[in-house]
């Protein structure tokens, strides 16, 4: 399978990429790791006349400490997330969860920014970004703006990213000491998307839950924040009853599509299971 013909552009700076995007408009697609876009082009689901390859823009890669935030360049690949000492120390959820994405070869190409900007509800980074309260930094002809991950995802393959903008970095608040975290992903095999997955970030003080963020992968038209599930945990000690209540609340916000991974009832049930497991795993990591 060979993609349809296109013109190829390899800008060396974000400015150059934006100017190309401005000139070429909707005829152009941005190329990140290419592991969603190139397969879609092979199948003619996408037929852009131009590809703007972001791989030769060094400024879009790398992970840096910026006060209380960790800033991740949008073109940072999954294996770089896994290997980053800074992420291991400040955002271990991202480093660990990236191991569950695709396979070693694909993780050398697939980028965090591509995973987010593609808007695929099956991708893992959207729920992770929501659970971590990340801000997506978008750059366009009018400058930069930040959009919270919780609100960035509009529908399947639709995000708040405008046609003339590029996702340049992801800004994530470092997890305070003692924070528990987990990403539980049910998948049929290596490289598969989640049948259902749940990201949980949890803090406790004085035997009670003081902070809870819960987000779900691949059980709705976008990654979903399970706000009622968070409420079911907040302000009380963690118990079998509160965890079950959170899972029930999480199941209520799901709207999965039946496919080869399972029917609606199965996926809904599995979303609840992943939430329960992720809460327990996160609680075990709470200091």
């Amino acid at each position: 399978m060979i993609p349809p013909a296109f013109d190829y552009h390899a800008p060396r700076s974000v400015g150059e990429a934006l100017s190309l995007l401005g000139t070429l408009g909707s005829d152009a697609k941005l190329l990140a790791g290419g592991h969603s876009l190139l397969p879609m082009m092979k199948l003619r689901f996408a037929q852009p006349a131009h590809l703007i390859d972001l791989n030769r823009i060094p400024a879009l890669r790398g992970i840096r400490d910026d006060g209380g935030d960790v800033v991740i360049g949008a073109m940072t690949v999954e294996n770089e997330l896994i290997a980053s000492p800074l992420l291991r120390a400040k955002l271990p959820l991202l480093a660990e969860a990236a191991k569950l994405i695709a396979d070693p070869q694909v993780r050398n190409r697939g980028t965090i920014g591509g995973d987010l900007a593609h808007g695929d509800p099956a991708n893992d980074h959207p729920a992770l970004a929501i659970a971590l309260d990340a801000t997506l930094v978008l750059e366009g002809p009018r400058g930069r703006r930040g959009v919270k991950a919780d609100g960035f995802f509009v529908g399947p393959y639709a995000t708040a990213l405008a046609d003339d903008e590029i996702l340049v970095e992801i800004r994530v608040p470092a997890l305070p000491n003692g924070t528990g975290w987990a990403y539980e992903k049910l998948k049929r095999k290596t490289g598969d998307w989640a049948t259902a997955a749940a990201a949980v970030v949890l803090r406790q003080a004085g035997g009670k839950v003081t902070h809870a963020r819960i987000a779900l992968t691949n059980v709705g038209p976008t990654a979903l924040r399970a706000t009622d599930a968070e409420k079911a945990l907040l302000g009380q000690p963690l118990s079998d009853a509160s965890i079950a209540a959170a899972a029930t609340a999480a199941r209520a916000v799901t709207d999965p599509a039946a496919d080869l991974r399972g029917d609606v009832a199965y996926k809904t049930a599995m979303a609840g299971q992943m939430v329960q497991r992720a809460i327990r795993a996160a609680a075990a990591r709470c200091a």
Binding site: M1, I2, P3, P4, A5, F6, D7, Y8, A10, G34, H35, L38, P39, K42, L51, D53, N55, N79, A102, D103, P104, Q105, V106, N108, R109, T190, G191
Partner: protein, 167 residues
């Protein structure tokens, strides 16, 4: 669409070629350079039969554009034996797959070999679990993987031994 000139070092040899932007790396290797070792399997980046090494990283050549390799160094299975540290005819990973029966039909083998080569650079003395995780991007429909794991273990041991002799 206008062709682009690229200069790629493949198995140590510089190749200057004009390619269509849509040409995938796997087709460039197989059809332009006649390097048919890397195979076209699933064409969707799942099976790993097309795995090659680009600038020291394992990638799936079916989901990589040739034009993106301008200025890069590519290693395919054809270049592997020349890297044998003991001057043998086979690289340690090739010898491992041969000795431990790490292949049956052989279709996945070029991808397995080039991935195993890179994996053992990344992790020279892996556990069995680490081998299975490190090789997870390569599918084999014959062997059941047990002998592939043994082959990688054989290669890891041999590489460590050769390094000791060389050092």
């Amino acid at each position: 669409m206008a062709k682009k000139l690229i200069s790629v070092k493949v198995n140590g040899r510089v190749q200057d070629k004009a390619v269509e932007p849509r040409t995938l790396l796997i087709h460039f290797l197989r059809e332009e350079l006649n390097l048919t070792g890397a195979h076209i399997g699933c064409e969707t980046s799942h099976c790993g039969a097309c795995t090659v090494d680009v600038d020291g990283h394992s990638v799936k050549a079916c989901t990589h554009l040739a034009v993106q390799c301008d200025g890069s160094e590519v290693l395919t299975v054809e270049g592997l034996a020349s890297l044998a540290k003991d001057g043998g005819v086979l690289h340690a990973v090739q010898e491992g797959f041969y000795k431990e029966h790490g292949l049956q039909c052989g279709f996945c083998t070029p991808g397995m070999l080039i991935r195993a080569y890179r994996f053992l650079q990344e992790n020279p003395s892996p556990s069995e679990t680490e081998i299975r995780a490190g090789m997870a991007g390569n599918l084999c429909r014959c062997t059941g993987y047990q002998n592939i794991v043994k082959a990688v273990q054989y290669a890891a041991a041999k590489l460590q031994q050769t390094e000791k002799v060389t050092a």
